[in-house]
Amino acid sequence: MRLEHKVILDWVNPDSTVLELGCGGGTLLALLVAGKRVRAQGIEIDAKAVHDCVEKGLSVLQEDFEGGLSGYPDGSFDYLIFDQSLQQVRKPDAILKEAMRVGRRIIVGFPNFASYTVRFQILFGGKVPVTPSLPHEWYDTPNLHFLSISDFIDYCHRRDFTIENSAFVRKNSRVGVLPNLRADLGVFLISQRTGSETEVPPTRGTAAGPLPRDGPGD
């Protein structure tokens, strides 16, 4: 199992409801159903991936989730998950705001565009980086937005989202210090700040724990 999936599995409460946006072939959702008995719903545009989800016994809607979220009433799900799909949408800011309406908590995993591997390739190679977490060439990448772990933390502060938990991954291992420099992937559990405290009960903590407001630094 990919480490970031293990992290998400650890964060999600048993018997909760989950909507994954851009769920691909349903690998993560199937893990959540098996491990946490969640009621799972996926949204995925690719026909082959949709068939794979149905084969795994998952409920999946073949549609573009940039429009698909609007059909859900407020607070329809305990969790909305973007597993490396947020950087592929046209308007991530609009989607996240809409996601905060539909889900009580949001889990976002994305490739970190400020890892030292990326920095070295740009600085010394002079080329758009191709790394294990950013494996595509410039001409065929599905990624429309490139962000770093620090960017995402700044963004959450600006939007007044609470970062309840975070985890950083490099080569399938956890990164503790200097995640913005060292991690290939960042995974965040965020929620809408309501007054001074959040309404939702806390999830189980992880080794990394919630981040200080100053961010990971590098």
């Binding site: 949709v50 149905v54 999946v60 809607l61 073949q62 059909g71 009433p73």
Partner: protein, 389 residues
């Protein structure tokens, strides 16, 4: 499937009869139906197949002396999408039909003559109410699934609304929650063609010459709407017919010959009045008439698989997406697949491979997760005990 036989179920004897949406009732009512596979001990493996406008109870296998099989034989049988080794498949001719079920061509017990236009106006809900009585008579408390395309899909949606606790899954294919003006318009052209035929005689033509020309034209219009620009281009191109009638306005192009052939063969197997009543039922279908979108499937616990086809312009994908939206609003567990086909509306009968894959896995999931989906307060043992009695 091998040899199969149509059976008949008669119910709603006078004086009660079957109450209809229009306020009248029909007594008695007969439904023609066929079954394939066998019902398991706890009667939990029954799948009800619902046919489209021109379909009938004969969905699979062969009747004696028959060269071609039932209308959905590609999907029903051992190892097929609806696997008869696992499931007990039921298909009945709709109320108002002309293939063994009570319809305008049936004898009116009050007059001893065919009903003709004396037959009451029907709705999709009436058809579904009649089917529910058939399902009951087979001792089935809860269907594993209801499935159908086009008008069959409307019946699926009606089942979801009328009998939500009696289905564990629903598969509406290439269908809509309400007929749009374009769909009504095409049906109206068909009806006008029938009624413009002198032989139609206000629906009183039984025993005399049939309104065959009118019905054939109605069918021709229908067939145009079932195909797509691309599928027609591929099937016929601008190729000319090599034989057939001569004359200035003969069937020169293959597409003309095809439509004429389809029209002419339809009149041998279909009743013009049934065509009028059934198309009217489709046009009047509107699940949202008295409800808001978020209310229509409220409380439904069945799992839903909605299927649409990209080139279907008669029942475009946006209509299926409305169904999906209603499921989202009601918190219904739904899947939606939009199959990339060029066959137009006919795709629901032709895209067998993709449908088979989706439906096989979907039904397997539903049967495996059966007991978690029971209504609250009712244990699985109770259901099992009831179904044995």
């Amino acid at each position: 499937m091998g040899l199969v036989e149509t059976r008949f179920f008669t119910f709603a004897e006078p004086p009660t009869g079957l109450p209809l949406d229009c306020g009248r009732s029909l007594a008695p009512v007969t439904l023609a139906y066929e079954t394939y596979g066998s019902l398991n001990a706890d009667k939990s493996n029954a799948v009800l197949v619902l046919h489209a406008l021109s379909g009938d109870a004969h969905a699979a296998g062969f009747h004696e002396d028959e060269k071609s099989p039932g209308w959905w034989d590609d999907m029903i049988g051992p190892g097929k999408g609806l696997d008869t080794e696992k499931y007990f498949v039921i298909c009945s001719n709709v109320l108002g039909g002309c293939k063994g079920s009570t319809g305008p061509a049936s004898t009116n017990p009050k007059t001893g003559r065919p009903y003709g236009l004396e037959f009451p106006i029907l709705t999709i809900k009436d058809m579904v109410d009649a089917q529910s009585r058939l399902v009951e008579s087979l001792g089935i408390k809860r269907l594993l699934a209801v499935i159908g395309g086009s008008m069959g899909g409307m019946q699926v949606l009606q089942w979801m609304v009328s009998y939500p606790a009696r289905i564990r899954a629903a598969i509406p294919i290439a269908t809509t929650m309400k007929h749009a003006p374009q769909q009504i318009a095409f049906d109206e052209v068909g009806r006008q063609a029938i009624m413009a035929d002198n032989n139609w005689n206000e629906g009183d033509y039984y025993g005399g010459p049939l309104p065959s020309k009118g019905l054939a034209v109605a069918r021709m219009v229908g067939h145009i709407t079932y195909m797509s620009d691309a599928s027609m281009a591929e099937k016929f191109g601008r190729r000319l017919k090599t034989e057939g009638e001569q004359g200035k306005f003969g069937a020169d192009f293959e597409v003309e010959g095809y439509l004429r052939y389809r029209g002419d063969s339809f009149v041998k197997r279909f009743d013009a009045n049934s065509y009028l009543y059934i198309t009217k039922a489709m046009d009047n279908f509107d699940l949202l008439a008295e409800k808001r979108l978020q209310e229509v499937f409220k409380g439904l616990r069945a799992r839903v698989l909605v299927i649409a086809f990209r080139s279907d312009w008669l029942y475009p994908a946006y209509q299926s997406k409305e169904t999906v939206k209603a499921c989202k609003l009601a918190g219904v567990d739904a899947s939606y697949c939009e199959i990339n086909s060029t066959y137009g509306h006919d795709a629901f009968l032709l895209e067998v491979e993709e449908e088979t894959h989706l439906i096989q896995h979907f039904l397997r999931t539903v049967s495996e997760n059966g007991h978690s989906e029971l209504e609250p307060g009712r244990g699985s043992d109770e259901i099992r005990a009831q179904s044995h009695t």
